[in-house]
């Protein structure tokens, strides 16, 4: 799913261009984890190809179904989603969000990425402590979503 640039196509974003956006957002928001989920072109499965601040490599193996997990819910509804304290309901809720479990996140805010007008991905900012994402932080994340949408929509390929 990752976009691979070519010599003939220098203007299109490479994998590291997209990953840099995650690094940049994590630094600006001072959050523990930032990642991008992308829905497969074929089928409806959703994977996490880009991550910054990860504690392990589990994110690379995680695949969630459309409508499941934080990314699946954000993509299926086309709306942002915030979890401010997952520890409040650790027993059952935690299994619903594998990326949060894998990265030991207690709070996250995720926003859909629109590719050609359709929600095909999600940008996520997360913390390993409970946290209520403020309006300012939400606006900052929206700024990075906009940046990514321009990158992705300019090449129509992820």
């Amino acid at each position: 799913m990752e976009y691979r640039g070519s010599d003939a196509d220098m203007d299109q974003p490479t994998f590291s261009d997209v990953l840099d956006v995650c690094h940049e957002m994590r630094a600006e928001l001072n959050c523990d984890f930032a990642a991008i989920a992308i829905q497969d072109d074929i089928g409806t499965d959703i994977k996490w190809p880009y991550a910054s601040g990860n504690r392990n490599e589990k994110y690379k193996r995680i695949t969630v179904r459309y409508g499941k997990g934080i990314a699946g819910k954000v993509i299926s509804t086309g709306r942002p989603m915030m979890i401010s304290d997952l520890s409040n309901d650790k027993s059952s809720m935690v299994l619903e969000h594998p990326i949060m479990l894998a990265e030991q996140l207690l709070s996250a805010y995720s926003v859909p990425l629109l590719i050609n007008g359709t929600a095909k991905g999600a940008l996520l900012a997360g913390n390993r402590s409970s946290h209520l994402f403020t309006e300012n932080e939400q606006n900052s994340i929206a700024k990075y979503v906009h940046k990514l949408e321009i990158m992705f929509n300019s090449n129509h390929s992820l």
């Binding site: 392990n56 459309y66 299994l95 594998p98 479990l101 030991q104």
Partner: protein, 216 residues
């Protein structure tokens, strides 16, 4: 003392009834609801071929995609309720579940089967499978590790299953006493009711091993 066997048989009966009910619902979802939805899906494809209006065609394609997703959801739900691979044997069912588990939680689990797989009564097969499932879920929830292993050792008169992770570990006595994880007690209870045993050993900072022993 007379109450104990009665309680045990009632608990066994309840668990067996639940398993049978889950199997029935899983089958009904797969064979009934799933097949009906598939008929509707092919019907939509047929209707789409006869429509020329671009707007309606696009709408029908969207409906087909929704239907396709719903069929997949029904299939997954059915598998989660009662894995069809259980009918092919315990090793197949565990391997199949492990594939789903790795793609869900990102934890790689190696499965090794030693000796020739023997036929287990359905009730015991489901009990061992469910306990392995619970152990893996606990690893995903608490161990904070990216790999684990399951070894099934088929002996003449018993099967021994060892589930090992080198994760955070915990104080078993404390957890069982304070009922911090009712799942652990349920695992032991379930094996006892099926005629086997489930021993849990864990060291904080070093990991956990669960030994299931089931007579054949």
């Amino acid at each position: 003392m007379e109450g104990i066997p009665v309680t045990k048989s009632i608990s066994s009966y309840i668990i067996q009834s639940q398993d049978e009910e889950l199997k029935r619902i899983a089958l009904e979802l797969h064979e009934g609801v799933g097949q009906t939805l598939y008929s509707l899906y092919t019907g939509l494809q047929y209707i789409e071929m006869g429509i020329e209006q671009p707007g309606m065609k696009a709408y029908l394609q969207e409906m087909q995609q929704t239907m396709e997703r719903t069929i997949k959801e029904i299939q997954m739900l059915s598998v989660e309720l009662h894995p069809p691979t259980l009918s092919l044997g315990l090793v197949s069912a565990i391997k199949s579940y492990v594939r789903l588990y790795t793609s869900t939680y990102g934890i790689v689990v190696s499965v090794e089967s030693i000796g020739e797989e023997k036929i287990l009564p359905d009730q015991n097969k489901i009990a061992v499978f469910r306990v392995c499932q619970e152990a893996l879920i606990n690893i995903a929830k608490y161990a904070d590790i990216d790999s684990a292993s399951i070894q099934l050792d088929w002996r003449e008169e018993e099967i021994k299953v060892v589930i090992v992770d080198h994760g955070q570990g915990f104080n078993v006595k404390k957890v069982l006493k304070e009922n911090l994880s009712s799942g652990l007690g349920a695992m032991q209870e379930r094996m006892l009711l099926a005629g086997g045993t489930c021993d849990i050993a864990s060291t904080q900072g070093k990991g956990t091993s669960i030994l299931i022993d089931m007579p054949l």
